[in-house]
Subunit: 348 residues, 2 copies
């Protein structure tokens, strides 16, 4: 297997196992699964998720929604407030081709959507503790009433409980978010109540009142998910294949994977060391990185030689995928496909 | 001017002024200017640099070299050790079309180059204190002899004195690197002695024995360069244009520029606060960011409203450019061009 580096490597067997496991967890919990496609950005992976029973997809941006609808997805949630004439025109066109929902947390965005006349459903974004976007649970009823008065269909509430990444007890953090979401949805009959994050997904699926989960990272997993106990090393399905290009010192190896392919995202877990990923086979961390250089701390006598290839486990796989135009899909030592990262870089 | 966001905005007037100023600094110091094109990744910017007298370009990767040679550049330094059959085949082909030099710090890479039979020049990479790749100054003579014995033409030495970013005194750090480079080049007659980094460029141009400088970031500048006194806010020529999409709290605004367009690179200066950029007009920092959300800390009573557009100054502009497919070039309030980021994502 001769693959030029750096390359984004996907383990096809593990990917399918991860897709099946989360689909089963959603079924067992009696909730809908609407995976966040921002992790993989590939129509081939979306197809696997939909075949496994996903109710639809979640995306962050309109451009991503367009790619996945083009790719055959018929039901998409854009978990992001859309504003601006260009975007609203595209949204109206997209809503003619697929079932589209959008998240919002303000009357300003709702007014713009209503004026544009898009055939869409609306979800109120709730801040359950991350303090990013979203209204507080107690403010949902009033906003939902005002949005409905504009003629928009409010189908439910959604949150990204990103605060769980800082929590010591994931189950407790998920429960706390679910309690807030039940409060948020209290005034809405038959509301979709949607929580989204990979480490909380299995807990959320079993919380009363939750009707939908939106995990993303589970398809590939990464070092952050392992740090939170949401994955084991055997679940890892995406790596950066890199080559050792320099051995300037006995305790240092340079690989051709820096922040231009690994991103600068740190491991997102309390107390985690600052590094840029680690070599899969040995656990040796990339202790420093610049754009094209990963600097690996190696033990004395390490056999890493110039020209050797290594697989690097990303800290956070989503931005890593976004830095590649294509992924090399392998099964064992065999390359079986190349998939285009079709929604790469679509920030609009 | 209606520009959909997030967008990479280039101030054409400031870009030209930055290009002219660095060209003048090199001329005044009597050194060659070989700008690092990884910052801009655009053939239009390369053309401005070459028109202003640059001796050639520096790139990090072979794929970047191919783009700039395609775009008309006739002399390119690939400041990275090349290894692997695929890359060597491409290098041989490229060397038939342009004058190509490559950096290396090992006999392994030199042997592969010699076997491939590429018509190239070689520069020995020297570690002057960054402790990334590179041989120590005292080891250059021996390696250069062995490389020459393989039939390769060793034209000189190069370093990236990245350690200067951690230095308190840029002039002193540059001098220290220059001293090491003179030692490194002592055995090489008529050697190219090349230093590369934006904050040290003006000092390096005046150091005895230095024959070439390779600054990159100077074309656009960024917050890191301002922190080091290598730029002022009036030199900033690249911004991320973003829209306020949520105002969830009086002290918080959410803009549609997160790490997917700003990267996660922190300000690279001793003691700098952790943030993800700052709004140009007000200085308000993005105190947190996720992939699609920039979280701006705003003072009470701030007039930022949903739908407002803001210009964000990147901490480190190079990875930001790499996250866009095109740049919007403006002069004052007028859009004058769209330039393709032709070398985006070319890590191989």
């Amino acid at each position: 297997m001769a693959i030029d580096t750096p390359a984004l490597l996907i383990d096809g067997d593990r990917l399918r196992a991860n897709v099946a496991a989360m689909a089963a967890a959603a079924r067992d919990g009696g909730v809908a699964l609407r995976p966040h496609a921002k992790t993989h950005k590939m129509v081939e992976v979306a197809a696997l998720q939909l075949e496994a029973g996903a109710a639809g997809l979640t995306v962050a941006k309109l451009g991503e929604a367009e790619v996945f609808v083009d790719g055959g997805c018929e039901d998409v949630l854009i978990a992001y407030p859309l504003i601006g004439d260009t975007k609203l025109e595209r949204l109206v066109a997209l809503a003619r081709r697929a079932r589209v929902a959008v998240a919002l947390d303000s009357l300003e965005v709702a007014r713009a959507l209503a004026e544009a006349g898009a055939e869409i459903r609306v979800r109120i974004e709730v801040d359950t503790g991350q303090h990013r976007a979203g209204v507080l649970p107690g403010d949902v009823a009033a906003l939902a009433r005002e949005v409905a008065a504009l003629g928009l269909h409010v189908e439910g509430v959604m949150t990204h409980e990103g605060q769980a990444y800082a929590a010591e007890d994931l189950a407790a953090a998920t429960h706390e978010a679910a309690v807030k979401m039940r409060e948020a949805a209290a005034s809405l009959p038959d509301a979709v109540v949607s929580l989204g994050s990979t480490p909380t997904a299995r807990f959320a699926a079993r919380e009363p009142g939750v009707t939908e989960i939106r995990p993303g990272t589970y398809v590939f997993q990464d070092r952050t998910q392992i740090a939170h106990g949401a994955a084991t090393p055997k679940d890892l399905a995406a790596f950066v294949l890199a080559t050792v290009v320099s051995r300037p010192a006995p305790d240092r190896a340079i690989v051709d994977a820096g922040t231009k392919v690994l991103s600068s995202d740190r491991l997102n877990a309390p107390g985690a060391p600052v590094d840029f990923g680690a070599i899969d086979q040995t656990g040796w961390p990339l202790v420093r990185a610049s754009e094209e250089h990963g600097i690996v701390a190696v033990p004395p006598g390490a056999s890493l030689r110039i020209g050797d290839q290594v697989r690097i486990v990303p800290n956070h796989v989503c931005p890593v995928v976004n830095l590649f135009d294509e992924a090399v899909v392998v099964e064992g030592d065999r390359e079986i496909a190349r998939w285009r990262v079709a929604a790469r870089g679509l920030s609009r």
